[in-house]
Subunit: 437 residues, 4 copies
């Protein structure tokens, strides 16, 4: 038995702050409320449904994760949000049309009490949406201050002991990291002078870091993934994580690509198309917003398959990703993948995958897990980039010197061995030679 | 740096003995011959194409497995086979119609020289095939002796220093392990009295163990997976492995099911159907042969998803597997899977997978890897069941007290950490906290 | 303008009698009730939604069919049923779980008033179902009399002027037409002596014919498709039609096969599998019931593709149809087809079709159309087999000398030209050379 | 028996002139050469493989179309072509990589003798291709004269009695019909002054009409579908047909959409994507070329489903078509369609279609049929737009007052009844009431 990390207890309420009160947020909140009353199961949440194997295979020790780790309980959560529309969480959920009436009605009153704070919203970063429940501020720096005040007000009004934030807003147009993102000092100067490379989501993130609120980023935006943010997070002793929730097609891709690679099967081409009809689809119909998403989605295969190492297998891989706005389906996204495989002696084979999924249903449990695990991380004294949470992201943040791990199974191993390490348990290697001889 | 195992060097030729000289065997042999001349790549073979990461991520140490492990080189292989038809390997490959003429013609002479020894063939175990290139023997015990003599003759004639065997014959009808399989003594008595629960494949395996030839079983038959065989393998210091090559649909299943489970997504139903038109499809059209296959295929989800642990997620999983003989495609097998998922709060989603694969193209690299790794295992002093080779099998053999690991990623981890352990390298846990703080 | 047929007007109420009050029947009834109140559209019903082009393309005459033909209006329908369970139509519909609560609740009272009469049910013909709301009768002949009495009672109680019947019960085990089916006299002797080749559905049909109630058969059973029934129908001047509603996979097959044939594309193989979880799936899990269905489903391609005429294209077609009971989906049936095409010079291509359909949603409009069109046929003086209704059936009944037409487009042409002929309009040939020169 | 049309006999050789000697042309030519030697079957060609039913169903008269109609025989064909590359037909076919070596080698010499004449090629209409085997001309009018000379030379050198032309070149950028296309006089003025709305394909077509060579257009370009061309065709007594070969996804669409409509099933959305890697895919990667194709592909559903008539069923149909350049597959195009259906009472269903097809394999038989049928049309005295050939086109040309028929089955009916009418046979209506009563 190794030494466990020292972890502060999860006393009091935990505020969960969500920039963006749309389909994902309301599905998350409604689900947490239903689950804590026992009205529905938080399926897809590793912290709520999962177990963790400890010791040897024959020991049969596999506690529930929520009992193994000192994370906050669902009962302890209180929710807050910002949005560009003034609808409360019930109204927004009805509009999103993800959950059935029977589910929303069961927690209607609690949802109605959640009214969004006015949003920071510079329309040039999300061009297809138009809302007017927005803050006015003299500068981006002033906006940061307003968000900080919102956070303090929220903590006071809700009685929460501490908070975490998870970005559930839209995808912003692609912004490459620039000089202004290179240090805390430069970024703060940029805020003061309304630098165009500082988008709305970066303003939220910066305010959270200043208030020592851990921050996870569910979109492909920069938000909290640039040197100045890393620096501030370490200085403030705040854990951060991102970016872009791994759901739908990319989730399947990071399951299947590692399988093909484990077996050293070649891939000549991978064509992926998506049809989706929700607000996300509408936003991504803007080519500049799609560009953010595309960068996030295309990197996955490159990192998993390592064409520079396996030139014969993956050196000529043609990878194309499309997202098509298709209103008839609403939130019920659909992915279609065609994979051209290369087998023994070069013989071709094909795999087609058709995933009839639901965007918010897949994202909601990730929001919940990230809130609980980032809060745990902070109480355990972890700070800065939390690579062990790569499991949840399409485009995981890492230390600058490292390549990201996209393989879902490596990510899962990393996540679970980090849990074991936090609690002083032996790491698992699956060697298992002790059972023989 | 840990202490590596002591491993005898791979000197001299290695005989690869294949009971069954059909599509899989001839595709394997032709491929090995082509690959060693540089005429085609042995894609799908981990030993030939793979690398293994050693040390820290930033060390960038990732040698080729074939250079890291002291396995035999392709140049050192010589092939032998048994079959119920007298066709040589070239004729049989032409008939199987898997490889193109340009590939077969390039190694035609070498293939023609491989003529099968007469088979042990009791037709009641494989009812749809009828061949007459078969041994006659007074009893099953006498059959064992004839196969032993074949092995000794092969070693002498080919000049091989040692041999390994991989079962590439047909699926036999389902046989449950019985009293006769419970000890070496009882099994040998059964051989003498022609016990009906001793099938042809068991006779080959027994002969190999007696001759200290490591044995891998590519079909779902009992063959080498029963207490008497385990006992003999340990006594004779021979490594064994099985059973049923993991290819096609089951390969995909053991990739996707772990992914769904990692994310704690529920599964309400999984329907799998296969269409295939080769000799394998014809054999499996016999319900009793299909029964062997079905047992092998159905266990996979049960073990990966653990419904006893995750009742809410997998407790009601309805799993159905069908194999349909469909001649138009020949060896180009096709799988179609429908998976009914259950997400957050119980909302349904679906995944469909259509795998246009090729049976022998997927199996051939497994035959090669198993031959090379079993030979290595024997030289490293390993004996009995080699659980670390689970990676290659639909229905992995394990120590009696253990449940099998079906998750391809756990199997891959086990395989690679065993390789590291054999060579005295640090095991990999993917914790990676050393890169932070 | 030709002479239209003389057709009696559709005065008074029309009784629609449904043997079997399960998913299909209740979906039909609820839909008719909703549609007549304007609460939902009777989509899929040609009589309600369709138009018919008359005259030249440039005339722009295309009246609604329900205005063109003197068929009964939805307001005029009254429903009756028999079933082996005593549940009323509302309870049965809830159990079938096809329609949403909001739909059923809107017509709940009307549905609750529809209580099934006790069924004729000899369990040997439908072995997987067990109900006890059944008639007791001294003989099959006595059963016929009881059903006739039911019909007369229903007409009296409901005030209906006349009635039609549509078989919506389960598929019975396969019965080949035998001597007992060869004439009215022999059949009536068979009824008296409880002949085993006379099943429950035949008893219903016979009673209907005796009462001059037109009868359509939605299952693949013999029911009303044998010489004695043909003879009786003509004698009694009753129109009859069948058999087996064309829905789901077979519907798609009779759309796609004619398309391939029109283009003279060859077909080497066609593999069809279905997964379904409703009562129908359960019944078809009995191999003898499946046999009825299989005969009905396999004939389709043979008749459309004419392998005896087009030997090079279809002479070696391998056609396999599977139905798999798969409870997770309930009534939401799913079909998967793989078609192996042969093109120019013999080059292969493939089509895969995945149909996520709903059994009762596809069948309900057929029940409605058949009731209305058979009633029209009777008022127009048509009697015996109505081949022009082939459009609705997997296995259309024809005059003995004729082959059935399975091509949906020929069937549609036949149906619409018959409508034109009934009303004295010019038939359409699509020649259209009058628009040029 | 009606009076047949007077048709000149098909004496002498028939020249088949193909602008564009790429994948489609060489596949057509090689196939015709192989078929006439009996080395492969011209599958997909209605004229070569089809039969036509005459008289009543019970008459069993169904002659081969090639025996029924006085069309030219394969033996009578001689081929000519133009192309922007100088490769002969064998070299071009090898490069296209559609047919196997065994097929090309069997007719190699004949293919090698077919050397393309230099092309008319203004690169602004096909921007992704660059060839230098091109004509130089003082003006577009001069280009017309050069092509006319080519035609006369070809007839003289080949000894052909007459010729037909089929456009097998690339898709040009979208050009809307303009003033210059409105009359023969204006068009000829436009030729003289190099009007930018006159593309290369229009020049070929104009030259053919001048030489009284019937012309079919296999691409979505204007080419021969504008008032000036219609006028000239009628004046010169030349039949013309177009446009855009109906192959692949659109072929399936015009099979399935009529099936859905026949059954009055609603369609809420239809998403179609294509992946293809040949020269066609490369050309269509240019958005302006794709625009031509998109117009051609999108019109199909609008015309078949008639949303203005069936507002409830098709009024909100969302239709999206994508073509994606994806090199790994070469000529082996793949389509994926998702159709969102609406059934009884508005309940949703889905159909997915995955078509693994081959572009040139599907197009080649259309080229052959069109050549033979246009030649027949000319000999039968037909001139101008041949609507009865709509069967072969994505975007059929019609008389100005008419809407096009896209339904493959109406097209097939029109085609076959026109054949019957030409030969004085009764038209078929599928009424068939003569078999009853």
């Amino acid at each position: 038995m190794k030494q466990p990390k020292e972890i502060k207890t999860a006393e009091g309420k935990l505020g969960v702050l969500l920039p963006g009160l749309g389909a994902v947020s309301t599905t998350t909140i409604a689900g947490a409320l239903l689950a804590r009353r026992g009205l529905a199961a938080p399926i897809g949440s590793l912290t709520q449904m999962g177990t963790i194997r400890l010791g040897r295979r024959t020991d049969e020790r596999a506690p529930r994760i929520k009992e193994f780790l000192p994370i906050a309980a669902l009962d302890q959560l209180v929710f807050g949000a910002w949005d560009i529309f003034p609808d409360n969480a019930y109204e927004s959920a009805r509009h999103a049309d993800v959950l059935e009436h029977r589910h929303l009605d069961a927690v209607r009153e609690e949802l109605e009490r959640i009214r969004p704070m006015p949003a920071v919203f510079y329309p040039q970063y999300v061009r297809r949406l138009h809302g007017n429940h927005v803050k006015k501020g003299a500068s981006k720096a002033a906006m940061v201050e307003q968000v900080r005040e919102d956070i303090r007000d929220f903590l006071r009004d809700s009685g929460a002991a501490r908070a975490v934030a998870v970005w559930c807003g839209s995808t912003e147009v692609y912004i490459a990291p620039a000089e202004v993102h290179s240090s805390v000092a430069r970024f703060e100067a940029g805020l003061a002078e309304d630098h165009p490379a500082i988008s709305s989501s970066q303003i939220y993130a910066w305010a959270c870091l200043k208030e020592r609120v851990p921050f996870a980023n569910g979109a492909p935006n920069l938000t909290v993934d640039f040197p100045a943010a890393w620096e501030l997070a370490r200085k403030q002793e705040v854990p951060i994580a991102g970016k872009d929730f791994k759901t739908g097609q990319t989730l399947m891709k990071t399951v299947i690509a590692p399988g093909l690679k484990a077996r050293m099967l070649g891939v000549a081409g991978w064509f992926s198309t998506n049809i989706l009809g929700n607000r996300d689809g509408e936003v991504l119909d803007d080519p500049d917003a799609f560009r953010s998403k595309e960068v996030s989605k295309l990197g996955v295969l490159e990192h998993i398959l390592q064409p520079h190492v396996y030139g014969e297998l993956y050196g000529k891989l043609f990878h194309k990703v499309r997202i098509e706005y298709y209103p008839p389906r609403g939130d019920a996204k659909e992915g279609w993948d065609n994979i051209d495989l290369v087998g023994w002696l070069g013989y071709p084979m094909q795999v087609k995958i058709n995933f009839l999924c639901r965007d918010s249903i897949l994202a909601a449990p990730l929001v919940l897990d990230l809130a609980l695990l980032l809060d745990l991380a902070q109480r355990a004294g972890l700070r800065g980039t939390q690579e062990w949470l790569s499991f949840y992201f399409k485009s995981p943040m890492t230390a600058p010197a490292l390549y990201p791990e996209h393989d879902l199974f490596i990510q899962s191993m990393k996540l679970k061995n980090t849990m074991r390490w936090l609690m002083g348990e032996d790491l698992i290697t699956h060697l298992g030679n002790e059972y023989y001889d």
